[in-house]
């Protein structure tokens, strides 16, 4: 069973990548299992300055997932580079994906540029789809022109491949995908969270402190598959698929839809060994489905 896939010339031993925000900076999971089973990992969303994020409660449960409104809590890019990534480097030998959030074009540009010299990072994921940050985040991800321009500016200052993370909260995700590719994106990742809400049965008020938050988990899976399929038809850069993935079967379906690699998010939170289990299960499922080389199935759903 050949589980290898390539992203921007970088070879991953398998396509399983814990998704940003659900795996911290990785090293804390090293107490649970040997991280080297993972194809790569996407680090917690990082901004120029340290951020505390939103007030509590930041979490609300849903029947098939959760709503989060962390608000990009992170120690700031400098500390990520000087402290978090070195810690991760000790327990994980492959390269990783940095994930960058921001409020303005210049903030994105400056933060991304800081990763230029970081060898541990083989690509930067631009989060233009975070629904939890006022006056930033998702606004960049719902307007094709604004998105294209942001990517253009970022590309000017980045030495790493840029993956643009797309928002599912749009009428036409293919249009945004085309726009960011027009701006020079080397790849796209999708989906970020769907905007969702829950209410307190006793008070009637929203549970999340800031009202709404981002919904993720198995409940978003069919929407994620559809969007990966749509985007695969629209652009030719590699796609990293995610949204509700909880088993190796789900990884296969994502790849049929068009994903080159697959991120596992919320499942890590409810089952700490999820990414490991999925990576282990993958060769067995390939055998069951008579798939020899995983790269062969990317976009298979589009074959006539």
């Amino acid at each position: 069973m050949n589980t290898k896939v390539k992203l921007f010339g970088h070879e991953l031993k398998n396509p399983i990548i814990p998704a940003s925000g659900t795996f911290g900076f990785g090293y804390e999971f090293a107490k649970l299992y040997d991280l080297n089973i993972l194809g790569s990992m996407s680090l917690k969303g990082t901004t120029l300055e340290p951020r505390y994020g939103n007030p509590l409660p930041r979490i609300a449960e849903c029947p098939a997932g959760l709503i989060n409104a962390i608000g990009l809590q992170n120690p700031g890019v400098d500390k990520v580079l000087s402290e978090e990534i070195p810690k991760l480097d000790k327990v994980y030998s492959d390269k990783v994906i940095a994930n960058v959030g921001g409020h303005s074009v210049s903030e994105y540009v400056e933060t991304v540029a800081k990763f230029n010299e970081c060898e541990k990072v083989f690509a930067v994921e631009l989060n233009i789809s975070c629904p939890n940050v006022k006056g930033g985040g998702m606004a960049f991800g719902t307007d094709p022109k604004i998105a294209e321009n942001l990517v253009k500016e970022v590309k000017k200052h980045s030495l790493k491949p840029i993956i643009v993370k797309l928002s599912p909260n749009v009428t036409d995700i293919a249009e945004i995908a085309k726009a960011v590719c027009g701006g020079g994106a080397d790849g796209v990742s999708l989906i970020n969270t769907l905007v969702g809400m829950r209410f307190d049965l006793r008070t009637g008020r929203p549970i999340i402190s800031v009202g709404s938050g981002g919904y993720s988990g198995v409940g978003v899976y069919p929407v994620a598959l559809r969007m990966v399929y749509q985007v695969y038809k629209a652009v030719s850069v590699p796609i990293i698929g995610m949204g509700g993935v909880s088993s190796a079967y789900d990884v296969i379906e994502m790849m049929y839809a068009g994903a080159t690699a697959v991120m596992v998010g919320s499942q890590n939170l409810i089952e700490p060994l999820a990414s490991k289990h999925i990576a282990e299960q993958l060769p067995r499922v390939m055998e069951e489905l008579k798939i020899n080389r995983l790269e062969d199935i990317i976009g298979r759903a589009h074959n006539e």
Partner: protein, 241 residues
Amino acid sequence: MKEQNLKVVSNKALNDSTYELVLKGGDINMSSGQFVEIKLDNFYLRRPFSVAKIQKSFLTIVYKIVGQGTKEMTKICENDNLSVLTELGNTFDLDKAKKPLLIGGGIGSAPLFQLAIEFNERGIRPTILLGFRNEAEVFYLEKFKKLGDVIVATDDGSFGEMGNTVSILKTKKIDFDCYYACGPMMMLKALAEYNSNGQLSLEARMACGFGACMGCSIMTKNGAKRVCKEGPVFSADEVVF
């Protein structure tokens, strides 16, 4: 942190709204203040509960019915197997007190039971102040009495003193050096304002419970800290309410 399959030894009502769940499993290496996260069928997120008692490979939690998940938990049966994350969070710091006062508000009394056991193991008999809404909510009273000098207060005076833990603390002269409190946020805030020489066990809505999601981060005087990882026990003087 460990993911374990634990077998249910018993699950029984202590009063109308409070249950005691005893689990048995391999390797329970925990201390007072720490908590576990239990996976329930048909619920997406695990539910966090403080350990009320740890004895060899037996683990006891005491839970109150407050919503759909805890309502469902009452149906758990002997011999069921539950997926549980154990060894979560930090512990109470027993070294802080020679004359400890344990302050529990409602179901917040649960983790104080294991704490009282540990103080007894050190040869220290703590004072234990427990507040409940009314008589019907009182639990573990006889058990606590074996471990310390217990004062009970109820909001409506239906049992013990009339009042809440904070009002009792203010009016009664209790001899202690450091307190250990768990209960509603309002109570913990009032306590911290009244006396900062204590340890508070906090709650927060959690997604992971083991430090991965930042869902439970509170602001403290020493920066952001995760209730599930750097907590749930915090020093009363560091929490920014």
